[in-house]
């Protein structure tokens, strides 16, 4: 414990910032470990499931070994699922394909419940699920066996006779359990929250860095230069500080969105990166005046000290003085102020994304997850509660860190 208090605070801050950064860099591996889903998988496999359901049938991930669904597939009751060659040479089974068609009709019925959040499928299509009015969960379970695809089922044909017998039948496609249930598109909520945390934290952290860099630059310049430079820069900062700049961020995000929409050659990844980049740059640019005030105040106090006067008397150029003799003394207070900025910026990102101005789907962020979950919240409250809890946890953590840092420096 011999390190000076300043260094200790820095170490503490880095330790506390490490988990979100780790999550940001290694979200894929971590989410695979915890939830069993990688991001690309949930993106591609928009599965049949009502929001909030805990298991989702997934074709091509193994079979459950239960032969009871064989009778439902085997509509002509000959004990075999026959495969017939298509004109293009591939083998298809009319019975299995008919089941897939029924599955599609059920999916339509379920898609309606996804949008409205209705508790019951009013009119289940013929041959889809037991009883007159199955719940969506029952429907999901009942339609699991219908997700067989001809080509995948053919792999189970061990004797090579072009037909699947009851003995060879591998069972219905296995359902994938989901830790926190499925979202409105049948994607795993836990994975989406992990990735949403990554997006929200990264945007907030980068915006903080942008505002710290800009504000420190302006503040030190104003403090060291003095005179009219100081007056002009600080007037500008005061002016911007009093304006509701968040509106300008909204306008800018709207513009980015229409730019993205007008450029179909951009991939989804490029478009999302562009939007996230504009968002954090704009959010950071809105916060710099307060940082500049802080930095200028500290710098003005430092210019009266002996070492800055000495550096100037030696004829050191301004940037060198700023870098070597002023910046190191601003470090701790800038750090604690920066940590204080993070929770506010996270909330602003959530607000903007919630309103549809910030980050855009399909990639998740906290605000987007809440926005997507809200229409179906009375059926699947977890869709709102989980991202909200994660957002609150992250914000409380950042607030507490900022307070402890502030208490250390007594600023």
């Amino acid at each position: 414990m011999s390190a000076p208090p300043r260094r200790r605070a820095t170490i503490l801050a880095l330790l506390l910032l490490a988990p979100p950064l780790l999550l940001a860099l290694a979200a894929d591996g971590i989410s695979r470990l915890v939830t069993g889903f990688g991001y690309a998988e949930i993106q591609a496999g928009q599965a049949l499931a009502p929001p909030g359901s805990r298991s989702v049938p997934e074709a091509g991930r193994g079979w459950d070994g239960d032969a009871s669904s064989f009778d439902a597939l085997d509509t002509d009751r000959d004990g075999l699922l026959r495969f017939v060659p298509e004109p293009d040479g591939s083998l298809r089974s009319p019975e299995v394909d008919a089941a897939r068609d029924r599955f599609r009709r059920c999916a339509m019925a379920l898609a309606a419940t996804r949008r409205t959040g209705a508790a019951v499928v009013e009119a289940a299509p013929e041959g889809c699920g037991p009883g007159p009015r199955p719940t969506p969960e029952e429907l999901v379970e009942a339609t699991r066996w219908m997700r067989h695809s001809s080509t995948e089922l053919l792999e189970a044909d061990r004797d090579g006779d072009g037909a699947i017998s009851r003995a060879e039948y591998p069972g219905a496609p296995r359902a994938r359990p989901m830790l926190l249930g499925a979202d409105t598109s049948g994607r795993d909520l836990a994975t989406r929250v992990a990735y949403g945390a990554r997006a929200s934290l990264l945007v907030a952290l980068l915006a903080t860095l942008v505002s710290l860099a800009l504000g420190t630059l302006v503040g030190i310049t104003a403090g060291l230069a003095g005179g009219w430079v100081d007056a002009v820069l600080m007037r500008l900062a005061d002016l911007l500080h009093g304006l509701p700049l968040l509106f300008l961020v909204m306008v800018l995000c709207m513009a980015t969105r229409s730019l993205v929409l007008s450029r179909p050659d951009l991939t989804i990844e490029q478009a999302s990166l562009l939007q996230a980049g504009v968002l954090f740059l704009a959010l950071g640019a809105c916060q710099w005046p307060s940082v500049a005030r802080l930095a200028r105040g500290r710098t003005a106090a430092l210019t009266a000290t002996g070492f800055v006067t000495a550096a100037r008397a030696m004829g050191l150029p301004g940037p060198v003085t700023a870098w070597r003799h002023v910046l190191p003394h601003l470090g701790p207070s800038l750090l604690s102020y920066g940590v204080l900025l993070v929770p506010g910026l996270m909330l602003e990102e959530a607000f903007l994304s919630f309103l549809g101005f910030g980050l855009q789907p399909p990639y998740p962020s906290f605000g987007l997850l809440i926005q997507e979950g809200l229409p179906v919240a009375d059926r699947a409250p977890l869709l709102v509660v989980v991202p909200l809890a994660a957002l609150t946890g992250a914000t409380v953590g950042a607030h507490l860190l900022a307070r402890s840092l502030e208490a250390r420096h007594g600023s």
Binding site: P244, S258, F351, L355, L388, L391, L400
Partner: protein, 306 residues
């Protein structure tokens, strides 16, 4: 005093003009134009349309036109509805203002009451619990409190979204906003009260044997409220953003709906109008707060700089 008032007026005016210029420039620089979905129509239709919408002019011309017409008191017409911007905003702004003012009242009441209660007694259960509750409320934010309220109430079927006739329609959004920003203010009031209790003139007043109630009212309160006044500016700015979220959550027919529709349709005059209304409100409130600061802080009387 008069000098400060005058400089304040000039700088408020400068702020409004600056915001107008920034908004117009940003809208011009932004890609996409109103009426751009007409590109499948003939060239002459497009030209007529862009002349009507004013998108055929250079950035400088647009800026000059907008500034000029604003100075003359002509705020333009909606490109989509053809309605005058003043009429459009005049219809929706009172709704937002009513929510905002009710929320502000509640926030001040909650923040100052709770903050004083927690700050004056530093050891009670209340003074330990209140800051924690406030921190959690602030972190849950308007988004969280609002969506949880909406979920609970719509589930209990006690509240229908989108209405603006029943008392609950007015009350709920203001309640959510006031609760969160009251919590925000509470922490400021609490810490400034704790600081004020240590001020030399408070210690002096105590030493002279004034009654505790008199010490609090005459010496602690004015001292503690000065940082609160400084914090009110950001609180008001955040309250305005928060009102956006609340209006969307409770589907209130306020100005946020106008703004969202205008941004979707790139209805420039309406966007500029809404931004300017918000800026003017913030500016007026800040000027008022500065004036109050001056009245409350004896150190600022007589033309000294803060």
């Amino acid at each position: 005093m008069w000098y400060r008032l005058l400089t304040r007026l000039v700088s408020s005016f400068a702020m409004l003009v600056a915001m107008l210029i920034i908004t117009v420039l940003l809208l011009r620089v932004a890609p996409g134009r109103p009426g751009e979905d007409l590109h499948q129509l003939g060239r002459d239709v497009q030209d007529n349309q862009s002349r009507r919408l004013g998108t055929d002019r250079s950035t400088r011309e647009t800026l000059g036109d907008t500034l000029g017409s604003w100075m003359r008191g002509d705020f333009g017409r909606s490109l989509v509805r053809g309605e005058a911007v003043t009429v459009l905003i005049g219809r929706t702004w009172p709704v937002t203002l009513s929510i905002g003012l009710h929320a502000l009242f509640l926030a001040v009441l909650l923040g100052i009451g709770g903050g004083l209660a927690a700050g004056l007694r530093s050891r009670g259960l209340l003074s330990r619990a209140l800051p924690i509750a406030a921190l959690i409320l602030v972190s849950v934010s308007v988004l969280g409190v609002g969506s949880l309220t909406r979920m609970t109430l719509t589930r209990a079927e006690r509240f229908s979204l989108g209405g603006w006739d029943e008392p609950l329609d007015h009350l709920l959004p203001a309640l959510v906003l006031g609760l969160v920003y009251g919590a925000w203010l509470l922490e400021v009031v609490r810490s400034s009260t704790v600081m004020a209790l240590r001020a030399p003139w408070v210690l002096g007043a105590r030493a002279r044997g004034l009654s505790p109630a008199r010490v609090v009212v005459a010496h602690v309160l004015p001292t503690a409220l000065i940082p609160v006044l400084e914090a009110m500016g950001p609180v008001v700015a955040r309250l305005l953003t928060g009102s956006f979220v609340v209006e969307v959550l409770f589907e209130v027919p306020g100005i946020s709906r106008t703004f969202m529709e205008a941004t979707a349709a790139r209805d420039y005059p309406v966007i500029i109008g809404v931004v300017m209304v918000y800026t003017a409100t913030v500016t007026v409130l800040q000027a008022g707060l500065e004036l109050a600061h001056e009245l409350l802080d004896p150190r600022l009387r007589g033309g000294g700089t803060p």
